[in-house]
């Protein structure tokens, strides 16, 4: 009993800082990747040949870029964007610097999911809007965005969960966070209690995110 108490005390001391770091990294990279990935997903979808804004070449280029970014393993991407992190944040490593590769990894992911959400809308509702004289912008804001929103929310939920797992890897380049804690104390320091505690906390976070995501999704569906 005493032993368990000791473990809890230890975790309570160790946990807050890395937990906050993880939440910070995930929150910031989610915001940036949604801000950039959602419009990118929209553009890739509507620039397709038979959609409302056909631009064949632009569509090809964007799809190629997304595929390139998606095919890079995250661990390689993290190192590859060091110069960019240095340029944007002023540092190559650290919690804030890790937001750069996390965002870059998540943008194409968000774009693909959002593009899919847009493309799976029934063409009929877009055609109906066209028949009523709606402009391309009006169709985007009044038809596609609201109709695809529930599906986009599901996509963002998925992205957040992915980012939680990526952020654990960010620990490897000095990003801090729960992944770093698990590796340094749990794995390298042979403190299994810390390892298990970290995993449990991560599990709780993922569950909570999924739960909230589902809740929002359901409230949007009519």
């Amino acid at each position: 009993m005493n032993e368990l108490y000791d473990i809890l005390i230890k975790l309570m001391n160790l946990m807050p800082q890395p937990l906050l770091e993880t939440l910070y990294m995930v929150a910031a990279s989610t915001v940036f990747s949604v801000l950039l990935g959602v419009p990118l997903g929209f553009i890739t979808a509507i620039s397709e040949e038979n959609h409302i804004w056909p631009h064949k070449n632009l569509n090809r280029v964007l799809n190629l870029l997304i595929n390139i970014a998606r095919s890079l393993p995250f661990i390689i991407l993290m190192i590859a964007v060091f110069p960019l992190s240095k340029f944007l944040i002023g540092r190559r490593i650290g919690t804030t610097a890790a937001i750069v590769p996390l965002t870059i990894a998540a943008i194409p992911f968000v774009a693909r999911l959002v593009g899919g959400s847009v493309k799976e809308l029934t063409w009929g509702i877009i055609e109906a809007a066209l028949s009523m004289g709606a402009s391309t912008m009006q169709i985007i804001y009044k038809v596609i965005l609201p109709e695809a929103l529930p599906s986009i929310v599901s996509g963002i939920t998925l992205t957040v969960i992915n980012l939680i797992s990526y952020s654990a890897m960010a620990g490897a380049i000095g990003g801090g966070g729960l992944g770093d804690l698990a590796i340094r104390f749990g794995y390298q320091g042979f403190q299994e209690d810390v390892l298990i505690g970290t995993v449990l906390v991560l599990l709780a976070i993922v569950q909570l995110v999924q739960f909230l995501g589902d809740k929002i999704y359901k409230s949007l569906i009519r």
């Binding site: 009929g124 055609e127 109906a128 009523m132």
Partner: protein, 340 residues
Amino acid sequence: MIEIKDLSKSFIDKNITVDALKNINLKIEKGDIYGIIGLSGAGKSTLIRCINRLEEPTTGSVLIDGQDIMKLKDEEILKIRRRIGMIFQSFNLLSRRDCSKNIAFPLEVAGYHKTNIDDRVNELLDLVGLTDKKHSYPSQLSGGQKQRVAIARALAGKAELLLCDEATSSLDPSTTKSILALLKQINATLGITIILITHQMEVIKEICNKVAVISEGEIVEMGTTFELFSKPKHPVTKRFLGHKSLEGSYESNAQGDNTRRYKLTFLQESARQPIISQMIKRTGVEVNIIAGHISNVQEKYYGNLIIEISGDCEALQKALEYLNQNELYVEELVDNERVV
């Protein structure tokens, strides 16, 4: 008035040119309920979409009140589309807007002021009889109710023309009737011209005053609905009317030089006279009645009778002359026609 002139549309699919529409010419007068009937793939969906330029024809023109819409710039197309309502087989309502917001959509798009939108929406809900469903979402409505909302939405911007793309094809027969009645009422009270495409002859029969039959991208027959029902000429039209069964329902056991088979169509006046018995008395031919029925199209009656006449050459000739003198539509049926 809408005039479609020499309209053609071809697609290129995998290096093969497909002619979806070939040289279409149609005239739709103000106040018409004009039906375009055809099988799926006949080109009717493409045709109706050329009227509001959801499809771009390859050649030809569409004149709306004398204005060629093929010459319009992009912004002008948006404006003209706001004057043309359209409804669809699958309703195409926005799932995350309630009825009132769905009906408000075209008004928002056209930049109406909010208070005007509210008034107009209430007016339209009343017109389609869904005032109590104002705040219901499409998923809470039946198919017929969804189509009513779609009709209200299509008319919101004071449309003068309503395009109906298989508007009743996914509805059950009684709902179809009520939607058709609503369209008829809109046509009669608001003077809105309606162009509808369908593969259901009952829809044409119920509300259209004029009809065109389209097959493989071409208009094969057109006229008033009564003309088309009582005197169909093209095989495709006859197939739509189900004439095959009537004409082919009997295997003749008296085929020979002295027997002819005719299909007689009695229009309103001739239906009252004893033409067949007069013919027998005057010419001495024998008549064998094979099949017959009486139909009505929008309160106008016509009858079809299939008979075989036997007699010598001279008598047959006389009989035919007699039939032709009366207000009958006479069509000789030969064997190969029965197998069509």
